[in-house]
Amino acid sequence: MSHTDDNKACAMHTAHVREAHARRVLLEMTVNGECIVEEVDPNMLLLHFLRDTLKLFGAKEACGEGECGACTIILNGKTVNSCLVLAIEAQGGDILTVEGLSKDGELSILQQEFIKEDALQCGFCTPGMLMSARSLLDRHPDPTDEEIKEGMGGNLCRCTGYQQIFDAIKRAAKREREELNRS
């Protein structure tokens, strides 16, 4: 590359960055109970915002097209594939990721049961699995077998064979109901 070419590339790039900067949007949201204010590109995906900007590496990208569920997070009480959602679509929203599941230094019941039932092996799908399971139990505190299969049907796991995940959710549901009755 010649020096002139270099200057030309630099000038084009500067213009490009200026344009991109002008398009940036101020994004405000709550993530795991914390207030977040960041400037973002309007075309940035929510998954990449969580990982690259907020450095929350729990949510994974395993297909990038909404087929595997590894990037599942909870946005305003509903699960979303964060690889299919723009960060700005979560404007003003309330987000829960795997990092927000434990409270006051204690693992959530769901996490405890995933560990106890050995519902994870390589662990790469686990953050997404946990978020889908959280949302499932929020909607169905006493889920039927079919509701579990329906609720978890969008999350792929290649290691476990799902049985332990299924069992962990059942046990967590029971314990959460017991906890609720006690309080």
Partner: protein, 803 residues
């Protein structure tokens, strides 16, 4: 075995399992579970390094083409691009058993997906844009589409097959053909065997290529110093030491110049053994001034660029007497290994000793051709060829029993390998080599087998729209590895008496961290909670291990851990003997103490000796407690090139699956009601890990059976490189019940008698499902996968054999 014997036979189902040991055999929580359940576990995918650049590659859209020209000028001019690389700049050749692959294609591409150019840039988005600016002119050539075209040898995938460097005496490339290796084995006389037979059955079975689908796609970061030979690698890989060695060979540098670091690995299943993205990234890093360069594959690239399990065709001819005794088996396996040999060629070799099934037959021959075609290449995948060969053998055994009118259980038991018998390669079976018959008996009993359905029973059920069937299949597998394979561990005690074990293997979910801790705890007699196996294996600190593959680590790493533990106990006894004014032979160990056998109250705790024992006056003896253990494969040898005789098997793990299923006769949908899976694993080391391996492996087997498979266009372009079109099982495909059964006939040289059981749960699941499908429908299927479409088309055809 009679029906009465079957009734009396007892076995241990998973959750009723009780171990005779204090720590070994018990279920323990996975050591890395908390990190993984909280999102803390760090994978290569998550890693960022200072000054890191991002790489992207341009992949050939054609199965076979000549690269006429590549114009990279527009990519180079893009701001933020640091380097653009094409094959013209490198002659680096990569290969495991055969040096047949360039790090980046040069002159010619051999499969759709092969890399023809690559870039590095400051962001992934710029790298992506740069790739789109590279212009390649191809001269598209006729591809070698499949094994039949390949065997015609009109076009050669590798013109230089005779010159390809390879492991001589183990692999046999055939000049002027597309056969990367022709391996064979034989015993007795096929002519005599078939002459003795009352019934001879000949069939062809096949199955397509299948992807491993680790949830974490292949990803690596490589930093290659342009001024020296130093290369640092962080990779989602199974085998740091094999990777180091293969890199050193490819780049002609010393192994000690290369560092390999493996953080958590998001699934592997054989697809991350060996070497993949690292050579390309080393070239890119050097060209980018030595910056660390990261490449993570998209799911589409994972399907189309990374190797698969090979498609396979098995042609089998079997002879038997009326009484059901086998007289001869003649098999030809043709493996569609795609453009390169990688581990595929070793899968092909393994088939000549593992591809007969656990049967005793005097006359047998196996030919195994690993064949080059213009497709994505093949490598190791859980089961290492045995799922494929058992699809051939165990469907054939079922069909043969149909022709003979003998119960398939009785038929298999009659021909089963037993102590005193010999495997295909001539290994003598003993009480120490495991009992395949017990595995079959257990699963057959578990599903309540009472014999095949009659035609009348089928007809009656057919009217309800859903038909049930039961079937079963045997399996066997030994680690496929060089005879000098070895493992080692280092054990150190901290000042508080806690123990750290360093291994050279990777825990990518199979549970090595947990089971090795249990073995060390058992030997040292301290709680499992006091033992940690060091995570994130790297070649800088951890001791050597050949590869984390082949279901061999529990056996070899386990033995090394026992040795290291015993050495540490011996060291402590020597120190304690001084302290107690005794002699080591009068001392014993237990519960964290070295104590006098005669007067146990005379004792010294491990903790007191951990960093050296200090007397009350301050004088000290001993020193930090550290020990090591090694294990090299015991008594293995290469196979005779003509007869296949030799000792390839460190441990044969035998097993069996039995299935009960229901088929919808309208839609062809198979619902799996129950799968019973039994393995003679010698001794359960970690019950929770074994249970999870079985449940997960069975499910992968179900995927191969009823869902998965690559589809190619007539131009050999992969048609289904996505989860939309290349599905793997979801929670909805879960069998209603899976029953793991542990058969424990100890292997005398295994750790506590144990054998490996990581791959085995996947093998023969398709065979058992195929056999159950025959019981349900009275139709024999010969090709996988048994998708609803394929099953329904078979039913509609009205044929009894869907060839």
């Amino acid at each position: 075995m009679s029906q009465q014997d079957l009734k009396n036979f007892e076995y241990k189902c998973c959750r009723n399992y009780e171990s005779d040991y204090k720590y070994v055999g018990k279920p323990y929580q996975r050591k890395d579970a908390i990190e993984k359940a909280t999102g803390q576990a760090e994978y290569t995918f998550d890693m960022e390094l200072p000054g890191m650049l991002y790489a992207k590659a341009l992949h050939s859209p054609h199965a076979r083409a000549r690269i006429v020209s590549i114009d990279t000028s527009r990519a180079e001019a893009l701001f933020g691009v640091k380097a653009v690389l094409t094959g013209e700049e490198s002659d680096i050749v990569v290969g495991l058993y055969m040096q047949d692959k360039l790090a980046i294609a040069k002159g010619e591409t051999r499969y759709q997906g092969e890399v023809v150019a690559a870039v590095t840039a400051t962001t992934e988005a710029i790298a992506e844009r740069a790739i789109s600016l590279i212009e390649v002119e191809y001269e598209v050539l006729e591809p070698v589409r499949n094994v039949d075209e390949a065997l015609e040898a009109k076009t050669l995938v590798h013109e230089n097959i005779a010159e390809i460097k390879h492991v001589e005496g183990v692999f046999f490339p055939q000049p002027n053909t597309n056969i990367a290796s022709l391996n064979k084995s034989r015993k007795g006389s096929l002519d005599d065997g078939f002459a003795e037979a009352d019934v001879v059955v000949e069939n062809e079975f096949s199955l397509p290529a299948v992807a491993h689908v680790p949830l974490e796609t292949h990803v690596a970061i490589v930093q290659a110093d342009p001024f020296t030979d130093k290369i640092k690698i962080w990779s989602s890989a199974q085998s740091p030491f094999a990777l180091r060695q293969l890199m050193a060979v490819s780049f002609g540098i010393n192994e000690s110049d290369i560092e390999v670091h493996i953080p958590y690995v998001g699934g592997a299943f054989g697809g991350k053994a060996g070497i993949h993205l690292e050579p390309l990234l080393a070239l890119l890093s050097k060209k980018s001034g030595g910056a660390p360069v990261k490449l993570r594959l998209t799911r589409e690239q994972e399907f189309s660029f990374m190797p698969t399990r090979a498609g396979m065709r098995g042609r089998i001819k079997t002879g038997a007497k009326k009484d059901g005794s086998l007289t001869a088996i003649d098999i030809v396996y043709d493996w569609d290994s795609g453009a390169y040999a990688d581990y595929g060629v070793n899968v092909g070799k393994t088939a000549v000793y593992g591809g007969l099934g656990p049967y005793e037959v005097d006359n047998a021959a196996i030919i195994s051709n690993t064949i080059y075609t213009n497709k994505v290449f093949s490598t190791a995948y859980r089961g290492f060829g045995h799922l494929e060969t058992m699809w051939t053998v165990e469907r054939q055994m079922d069909i043969l029993s149909q022709k003979l009118g003998i119960d398939p259980y009785e038929f298999r038991m009659k021909n089963m390998l037993k102590p005193g018998g010999h495997t295909m390669s001539g290994e003598l079976m003993t009480e120490s080599t495991g009992n395949p018959g017990e595995c079959l008996t257990a699963v057959v009993k578990e599903i309540g087998w009472t014999g095949r359905k009659t035609d009348e029973e089928r007809e009656r059920e057919w009217k309800t729209g859903k038909v049930r069937g039961k079937g079963f299949a045997m399996l066997q597998k030994a680690p496929a590895m060089p005879p000098n394979t070895s493992s080692s561990v280092i054990m150190q005690m901290a000042g508080d008496g806690h123990v750290k074990v360093m291994i050279g293997a990777i825990d990518y979910g199979q549970g090595a961290l947990t089971s090795i801790a249990q073995i060390a705890a058992q030997e040292l007699d301290i709680p499992v909670e006091m033992v940690e196996v060091v995570r994130r294996t790297n070649t800088e600190n951890n001791p050597y291990d050949w590869n984390t593959v082949a279901s061999k680590f529990m056996f070899m790493g386990g033995n090394a851990t026992i040795q290291a533990s015993r050495k540490m106990v011996d060291t402590m006894k020597n120190i304690a003997a001084q302290v107690l004014h005794s002699a080591p032979e009068y001392l014993d160990h237990g519960d964290g103490y070295i104590f006098s056998k005669h007067r146990p109250d005379r004792r010294v705790s491990y903790k007191e000796m951990a960093l050296g024992y200090m007397y009350p006056d301050g004088t000290s003896v001993g020193g930090p407690l550290i020990s090591h253990g090694v294990c090299i494969a015991d008594g293995l040898s290469n196979l005779d090139p003509e007869t296949g005789e030799g000792h390839p098997a460190l441990a044969w793990t035998f097993g069996a699956h039995a299935v009960e299923l229901e088929v919808d006769v309208e839609t062809g949908v198979i619902d799996i009601i129950k799968i019973a899976s039994a393995f003679d694993l010698g001794q359960v080391i970690s019950e929770q890990m074994v249970y999870s391996q079985i449940i997960g492996g069975v499910m992968q087997g179900v995927g191969s059976a009823i869902l998965e498979g690559y589809k190619f266009s007539p131009d050999n372009v992969l048609l289904n490189p996505s989860f939309t079109d290349n599905k793997i099982p979801t929670i909805k495909d879960m069998p209603l019940e899976v029953v793991p059964i542990y058969i424990e006939n100890k292997q005398k040289n295994g750790p506590f008698g144990a054998r490996g059981v990581a791959e085995h749960p996947m093998i023969s699941v398709p065979s058992a499902i195929g056999n159950a499908l025959y019981d349900a429908l009275g139709i024999n299927y010969y090709h996988l996968p048994l998708t609803p479409e394929n099953v329904a088309l078979g039913i509609i055809s009205g044929e009894k054999d869907i060839r």
